[in-house]
Symmetry: C2
Subunit: 323 residues, 2 copies
């Protein structure tokens, strides 16, 4: 089996690659080849199977054609222009998030091999004046360009699946926390940095009040869910291949308390509390009472507590040997 | 004021043009110029203002740029590849319904004039295993490529409006009945032909059972709603510019009874009842308990009874001087 991760150089892509390499199988078959593709050369991962790395610009159909071949059994489409970036640059978001997704789907159609395609959508597809809680049946009503483009991606994945051109499944990712490494251009960046930096002795700013609540998932559980997501049977997906990925709603205060419970009182003192007007309009569109009934019924899982999120970060990303 | 109708050669486009010409005003201003654009030269309409007709292929950005200029105050975007055609030819649907809509929006963005844009979506954006009744808040879950592409159009119209690039508003049209003229390639064609043909002494086939129910609106009311739709104030539209247009749910039997009430028993005897397997999969995805709460609150209206639909057809399309 050949597995391709588009966006294989990113945080989730790299963790997913390492997890797949460690498992060695997917959908009941041995993974012979793992291909990591990204807009810049992705870091390779250690594995007993063949690992290839390649550049791919999904906005360019020729680049997509060079990346997806008839031997590709499972495609993870993780590449995206994230929220604050898509809000700043409408064309970049349309080119990558909308046209890039279409290019990947059209390439699959051209090959005629009906690969499994796992698409990462976002809870940002919901928003605005829509009744809460958000469920799998809530209107797509994004209040950001990123959310609009991800919603368009869902519609395309569903339509190409319905037509039998791919075996698609999409998951609306909660905000991932704690993200290791450097901040990306997501407006939600502070939702990781206020833990990541203080746990490593540095300060970080929180631009919202302690009672701000949101819907979170750890990178570890996200990767587990993406692997389960590829293994779901098409007949269990029903008439909408896209669903909310399980997560949990926490307030900032609950998360800080969890950090204190795991790592003592010091880190919390390193958080500053200054508002950032440039991201306020984006954050205001996110209201976050969310249910993931369908995915939970299919066996996908959230973290048990935010203390787990903190522990996973320390174990997976800070401990020697973590990455 | 300059009003452009893209799709101005179609049934609704022509009726809308005649109605705007008869009124002479829109949004409180005199209409100086009415432009009818379509993929083939649209028929001109009689008017006291200037009427221009032009060819426009919305799949071609240069053609769109030649059609929409900085003086254009209101754009009706009615052009579409309809349901059965979009199901047969995925690329045609993507090029016109998705990329064509994006091309129009990008042209407006380029001009920087923020025109009012009235987009015709469809109740086909709803479908599948979603709780009934469908409302403005029901998940976009189309089960046809046409519905998927219209849903994508809605998301684009909303996002470009939210960004202040257009003043958009979209309406999910009920199935229009009684449509005059020749059948188009919509799977819903029989929903007009079983009245239109028998009322003119010809036979027509009904491929569904008499208890098949669906959501309908007459062309006359549709045009009235499109005019009201252009005149709505942006601040009344909320965080989703797209909504269900009012219509009424009727069974085939209720509609036939209405025809009999208006025109006597003869026409109903001219209906044949043979199933058409090629359109069954499309019709099965349409479940039609629909609410148009938002549009009704804003003053848009459905027909009072299907007898009205029959009378409007006879008055507007069959009577001498109708077209």
């Amino acid at each position: 089996m050949k597995v391709l991760i588009i966006g294989g150089g990113g945080l989730i892509g790299q963790k997913l690659a390492r997890s797949l390499a460690a498992r060695g199988t997917l959908r009941g078959a041995a993974i012979d080849t793992l291909v990591l593709a990204d807009i810049v050369d992705p870091a390779p991962v250690e594995a007993s199977c063949t690992v290839e790395t390649t550049r791919c610009d999904i906005a360019d159909p020729a680049s997509v054609a060079a990346t997806i071949d008839a031997d590709t059994d499972v495609i993870y489409l993780l590449a995206a222009i994230v929220s604050a970036h898509a809000e700043e640059d409408l064309d970049a978001g349309l080119n990558i998030n909308m046209m890039g997704t279409l290019n990947v789907l059209q390439r699959c159609r051209e090959l005629g091999t009906k690969p499994v395609l796992v698409f990462t959508s976002s809870i940002a597809v919901n928003g605005g004046d829509v009744p809460q809680p958000y469920s799998d049946y809530t209107a797509l009503n994004p209040q950001t360009s990123y959310g609009a483009q991800k919603a368009i991606g869902e519609l395309l994945v569903n339509d190409f699946s319905r037509r039998g051109l791919i075996d698609g499944r999409g998951f609306r990712l909660p905000t991932i926390s704690v993200r290791p490494g450097k901040p990306n251009r997501a407006a939600s960046g502070f939702m990781s940095s206020i833990f990541r930096e203080p746990l490593q002795g540095q300060s970080a700013n929180c631009p919202v009040d302690p009672d701000f609540n949101h819907y979170y998932l750890s990178p570890r559980k996200c990767v587990e869910n993406l692997i389960k997501g590829a293994e779901l049977h098409a007949e269990d997906l029903g008439q909408n291949r896209c669903m909310v990925m399980p997560g949990r709603v926490w307030t900032i205060q609950q998360m800080i308390d969890a950090m204190t419970a795991v790592a003592g009182p010091e880190p919390a003192t390193r958080i500053t509390w200054e508002k950032q007007p440039e991201i306020e309009p984006i954050l205001k569109g996110w209201r976050m009472d969310v249910r993931a009934d369908k995915a939970e019924a299919l066996g996908l899982e959230a973290d048990a507590s935010f203390e787990d999120n903190i522990r996973y970060f320390l174990e997976d990303d800070i401990a020697p040997g973590g990455a």
